[in-house]
Amino acid sequence: MDLRLRGITHFYGDLEVLRDVDFGVEAGQIVCLIGPSGCGKSTLLRLLGGLERPAHGEILQLGAPPAGSLNPLTYVFQDFALLPWRTAAGNVSLVLEDHPLSRRERSEIVADVLARTKLSEFAQVLPRQLSGGMKQRVAIARALAVRPACLLMDEPLSALDSQTRELLLDDLVELWLRERFTACYVTHNLAEAVRLGHKVVVLSRRPGRIREIVEIDMPLEQRKHALAELQEQQSRLWELMREEAMAADRELADV
């Protein structure tokens, strides 16, 4: 299943946050969305998942989601959004409980996704006992449990320290290599974008418009060992963003 955005314009009250945004997310691809803070990246993600309705334009699903997908458009949040009163397994189970699955099917799925995110031994642990990186792994496991057609990831690594971020980034790459999931990945971190993105959509400052869409052809598995080339890509992206970021930084926060 592909996603297609056509002429998306959005307002918060009188404030225009997105203007005429137009791009697609093809199945099996990771599309990274970058842009200066306040450019409407997260808003775009909320529109994609149907949590908000765009003022103008349309968002289309092309083709049917894969069979057995319980929640085609599934979020991974920056703050993990785990229920503190449920264990890791319980948090995964939560999103399955509204679906017509037998108790056994459910526990099989939970065990499966926890294994895939290397969390099996933490199944019965409460969130407060987990590090930030482990919490985000649980959140990713929860997202995988509903077999999404497209993951909508809102700065999933931003709340983590840099070492944990590096570890989790490797995990995400590995996961993609195994599962070939589709994702729209919002970040303000250019290194993440060039490590994960097949396509990087650069937005301008508010109101967010598309500055450029950069395709990165290098296969994901090679990128870890090609840091020099990636550095080049990253510099190019930074050149694109630099002025926007500076201008955005000087804007008054409250309009």
Binding site: G49, N71, Y75, F77, A81, W85, E97, L126, R128
Partner: protein
């Protein structure tokens, strides 16, 4: 700089700096649990009180001696009256508190979840909560009679309002991100309420229970003003009317022990239900 180096410089004489430990400036402002202190203070006060009574410095009219209070309490136990009083009071407390809490949960939840209910309930609660329920006693007699109903109703009304406030406050404080997460996974409204909103509001609801339970005990005396033969509140009222100050204080001590017991039970409940914190 290593110790040896310092020692060398010291040995070298000349301008040897005086070595002394850095002065400690931390400490304090960190309450530690000290269980015995409260008990000891209580016993010391009790001892002073008894001494004052024995020497006549505290007249029996001003305050009965602790031993007299204890004797009154012993009389209650020996005669078996205490069980009649406690039984009657506990029944009223439990019925009133459960009723008030249940209704308060429903109304508070409605106010927390639906804008319409909130617009109606919140000003109403603000208007009715501060009314002293004692002032309504004559009306309660007309409405509910002088039997158990009016006593239970007094406690029920008293516990209903604080529960409503605690519950909708708790619902308000549930992390909106968690609710958005539930919606993004397509959870049903009922599931979101049951699995996200209610457990999220539970800490506030439980601390609301502490307040409503205390209010229930406070209202016991008022509730038992109307036609009560037995009950701790009725016992205290009668003791006051007969100027039997020893019985009065014994009754008040029973109420305060009841408060301690309830607080302990709720503490256990909090530890059980909120162990995820």
């Amino acid at each position: 700089m290593s110790d040896e180096a310092l020692a060398e410089r010291g040995a070298a004489g000349a301008a040897a700096p005086v070595a002394r430990p850095v002065p400690f400036r931390g400490g304090g402002f960190a309450p530690r649990p000290m269980r015995l202190v409260g008990l000891v203070l209580f016993l010391v006060l009790l001892g002073l009180w008894e001494l004052g009574s024995r020497t006549g410095w505290i007249g029996p009219l001003v305050l009965p001696a602790p031993t007299a209070v204890f004797e009154a309490f012993r009389q209650l136990v020996v005669s078996g009256q205490i069980w009649l009083h406690l039984g009657a009071s506990l029944q009223r407390l439990l019925l009133g508190w459960f009723g008030g809490t249940l209704l308060g949960l429903l109304v508070g939840l409605a106010a927390g979840l639906f804008s319409m209910a909130r617009a109606g309930v919140v000003p109403l609660v603000a208007a009715l909560f501060p009314i002293p329920k004692i002032a309504l006693l004559p009306l309660f007699i007309i409405w509910f009679g002088i039997g158990e109903e009016s006593k239970v109703a007094t406690i029920l009304f008293g516990t209903f309002f604080p529960t409503v406030i605690a519950v909708y406050g708790g619902v308000d404080n549930v992390d909106r991100n968690l609710i958005r997460m539930g919606q993004s996974f397509g959870l049903s409204w009922l599931s979101i309420v049951r699995k996200i909103v209610l457990p999220g509001a539970l800490p506030a609801i439980l601390s609301g229970f502490r307040i409503s339970a205390a209010i229930a005990i406070i209202l016991l005396v008022a509730a038992e003003m109307i036609g009560a033969e037995y009950g701790i509140g009725a016992y205290i009222l009668l003791a006051g009317n007969l100027m039997a100050t020893d019985q009065l204080i014994a009754g008040v001590a029973i109420l305060s022990m009841l408060g301690l017991a309830v607080s302990w039970l709720l503490g256990r409940a909090e530890r059980y239900f909120l162990r995820w914190r």
